[in-house]
């Protein structure tokens, strides 16, 4: 009896140990991609399946960072479990946190084809290039052209909206035509990381000066109440609040509701970025004509931000250099090169997944109207900095303060005080 007990124990022990040993015997190379752009999960899976089918012995698998979890957090968990994917899609601001573990990519062919400044956030202090720029994104007021055409009684020209007064007039025109002007999405990430970030990037077209402004916020020398851009931006926000479709209960609105309202032409304007396209497309009943308007911050058309929209590289791929074998690392590099240089790879990446590429050698453009609108702004040079080096909890904290301001829970002075208090506490 005792003997059997011991024997069983041994058997269990052997089984447990066996499950820990790596299955190194397989000859095929299997690589995994962590995707943190939920809206293109299906498209990426299709690309991975296609790539696996055309290569000999390489299989690519895509795993998703769950909605509501930050890519950083997911990546940390995967690293801690010794199971890091070969390719990880991270937010721009998190790339350098992984510099101990990411592969240096300086020798890759695509480095010289990357568009200017797209590698700034991916370059470590020692000069190593650690990440591959996945996509260029931009944001502003998304407009539904059918609604606006109907309002102005003809062809709507987005260039006419270059001041706050022009925006107010547009809102009035839309309301007079029987539609609703705008809906404000109350998500903290949208209000904090995108809307209020306009107050930072609107300070100067030069990123160094924007950083100096943020430094001033940290050490308390910048007073937002005296700042024309911040006040102008909130004046515009007041205007948006006045015409907000959900003004009765502004915080009850949701992102999905926004995609539906703008897609069905229930409202004319919604503040978001080109990542919203797959959602809008699901509801679009007005012919698929959408575009971007800048968020005006004053009544002088020449002020920065009145004709420009923020555009930047928001997502990067890093390649793990620690927990993947050299064969896997090489397969990951090959996969990225295929995306940038193979015509089929380009087509699938850019058009199927609606990605605005950050590489000058790619001449095809995404088919969706929002990305096309962003490309137009880029080609006309009407862009400003998309501020991506904000502290990681900035969106949650400033977003919460914006929500208070949106629901009239606090006034502007209190709002500025909260934002200044947040910045002065950064890093402490």
């Amino acid at each position: 009896m005792k003997r059997t007990g011991l024997g069983l124990c041994l058997l269990v022990l052997v089984l447990v140990l066996a499950s820990f040993s790596p299955a190194v015997l397989a000859q095929d190379v299997h690589i995994t991609i962590l995707n943190s752009k939920g809206e293109i999960q299906t498209q990426l899976e299709e690309i991975a399946a296609y790539y696996s089918s055309i290569t000999d012995g390489v299989t690519v698998e895509v795993i998703a960072a769950p909605v509501g979890q930050s890519p950083f957090e997911r990546a940390v968990a995967l690293y801690a479990s010794g199971n890091a994917p070969a390719i990880l899609m991270l937010d721009a601001g998190d790339v350098l946190l992984f510099q101990d573990r990411a592969l240096a990519l300086n020798d890759e062919k695509w480095v010289k084809d990357a568009i200017p400044n797209s590698l700034d956030m991916a370059t470590a202090e020692d000069g190593r290039i650690l990440a591959f720029p996945v996509t260029v994104e931009g944001y502003g007021f998304i407009y539904n052209k059918a609604v606006l055409n109907e309002a102005v009684g003809g062809e709507f020209d987005p260039a006419t909206i270059n001041t706050r007064d022009a925006l107010k007039e547009l809102f009035d025109t839309i309301e007079n035509s029987g539609n609703n002007a705008i809906v404000i999405g109350p998500e903290d990430w949208s209000l904090g990381a995108h809307f209020f970030a306009l107050a930072y990037s609107g300070q100067s077209p030069d990123l160094a000066e924007v950083n100096a402004f943020l430094e001033g916020l940290k050490n308390g020398t910048v007073k937002l109440a005296d700042n024309a851009v911040a006040n102008g931006l909130l004046d515009t926000f007041d205007l948006m609040k006045e015409y907000n479709y959900d003004r009765l209960d502004p915080l009850a609105s949701t992102y999905d509701r926004g995609t539906q309202l703008i897609g069905e032409g229930e409202v004319g304007v919604w503040f978001q970025g080109n990542w919203a396209w797959p959602g809008i497309a699901d509801f679009d009943t007005t012919g698929g004509q959408f575009g971007f308007l800048p968020v005006p911050i004053s009544n002088d058309p020449t002020d920065l931000g009145n004709t420009q929209i923020p555009v930047g590289v928001t997502k990067y791929f890093i390649l793990d250099g620690e927990q993947n074998s050299p064969a896997q690392q090489q397969a990951a590099k090959d996969f990225l090169n295929w995306l940038v240089y193979d015509p089929e790879g380009q087509r699938r990446f850019v058009q199927d997944a609606s990605i605005i590429p950050a590489f000058s050698n790619i001449t095809i453009a995404p088919n969706d109207p929002l990305s096309a609108s962003i490309m137009e702004y880029i080609q006309e040079g009407k862009t400003m900095n998309f501020i991506l080096n904000l502290p990681p909890d900035h969106w949650a904290n400033v977003g919460a303060s914006m929500q208070k301001y949106l629901s009239n829970f606090i006034d502007r002075a209190a709002f500025f005080a909260e934002v200044e208090a947040y910045w002065q506490g950064v890093g402490k």
């Binding site: 509501g68 930050s70 940390v76 101990d100 209960d249 009850a252 929500q403």
Partner: protein, 296 residues
């Protein structure tokens, strides 16, 4: 001496055969991470970097100076107080009614009240979110009931109550089962004797049943306190801490500090502090309520 040694080895062998795997699992997944976690509270690790510095007790100083942490902590204490009282009262009332003789369909009702506990917190949160922000608002606007016309989830004064309501709905049935087990075990002859002595229903409840139910209450109060302090899933799915962080309970705050703000050391210090507090509260509660126990 030799015999003693042999006996010890024998004992150890028996122990290892029967409890070895469990001990190993407990050590590796509870004790070691716990100790490593305490170690990390003295560092400024961000969660991923290979190098980090020792910062002494400065993370704990940060915790004590962090207003948001204390606000969140007080909110959690409030939430725990409400849920403990309501869940246990309701659970006991349900159990008392459902162990009576005159209720038809007892088993069906018991199952019905227990079922919410089988639904995961995330799904529960999403379902209730739809109820609070769509169904109740719709009813409120149709019938002109002013306090229902606006979503409770966007009202900083009412949002805590949405969490309390969902938790009560989730846990009352579970506590009810524990109470039913306790009630069924009260010897029938005692109740018979009390009845013959002329005690009416209320007197029997107060003088006999409640004192004999103290062991059940120790368990249920302990469970509700501990779950209340640890709640995260319902908080995440129902309110996401909103509107503007007014419903951010302590677990969510700790989590966001560690993983969102990327201050792992500070988050870990908060978690350790929270552990000490919950342990202290639970032990005190069990110790004092044990004194209330009586022999039948």
């Amino acid at each position: 001496m030799l015999a003693l040694e042999k006996r010890f080895i024998d004992k150890l062998k028996t122990y290892l055969i029967f409890a070895g795997p469990t001990t190993l699992a407990f050590l590796t997944v509870i004790i070691l991470p716990f100790l490593f976690g305490i170690y990390l509270t003295f560092t400024n690790w961000d969660g991923i970097a290979k190098a980090y510095d020792f910062v002494g007790f400065s993370n704990y100083v940060t915790v004590f100076r962090d207003d948001a942490f204390w606000r969140s902590f007080l909110l959690t204490v409030k939430y725990v107080a409400y849920t403990v009282v309501i869940v246990n009262t309701l659970g006991f009332i349900l159990a008392y009614i459902l162990t009576g003789d005159q209720v038809p369909g007892q088993n069906l009702l018991r199952t019905g009240f227990f079922v919410p506990n089988l639904i995961g917190g995330i799904i529960l949160g999403l379902v209730w979110r739809f109820i609070f922000s769509n169904i109740l608002v719709f009813i409120g606007r149709q019938l002109n009931i002013s306090f229902l016309s606006y979503s409770w989830l966007t009202n900083p004064d009412k949002v805590l109550w949405t969490l309390v309501i969902v938790s009560v709905w989730q846990y009352s049935g579970y506590m009810m089962i524990i109470f039913i087990a306790g009630l069924v075990n009260i010897p029938k002859d005692l109740i018979e004797a009390a009845r013959i002595d002329g005690a009416n229903g209320f007197q029997r409840l107060r003088m006999l049943i409640l004192p004999l139910m103290v062991p059940s209450f120790i368990v249920t109060v302990f469970l509700t306190i501990q779950r209340g302090f640890m709640v995260y899933d319902v908080n995440l799915a129902l309110t996401q801490g909103g509107p503007f962080k007014t419903s951010e309970l302590i677990s969510m705050h700790v989590y966001e500090k560690a993983f969102l703000a990327q201050q792992y050391g500070v988050g870990q210090s908060q978690a350790f502090f929270l552990f000490l507090l919950v342990a202290a509260i639970s032990v005190t509660q069990v110790y004092f309520s044990k004194k209330l126990e009586v022999e039948a």
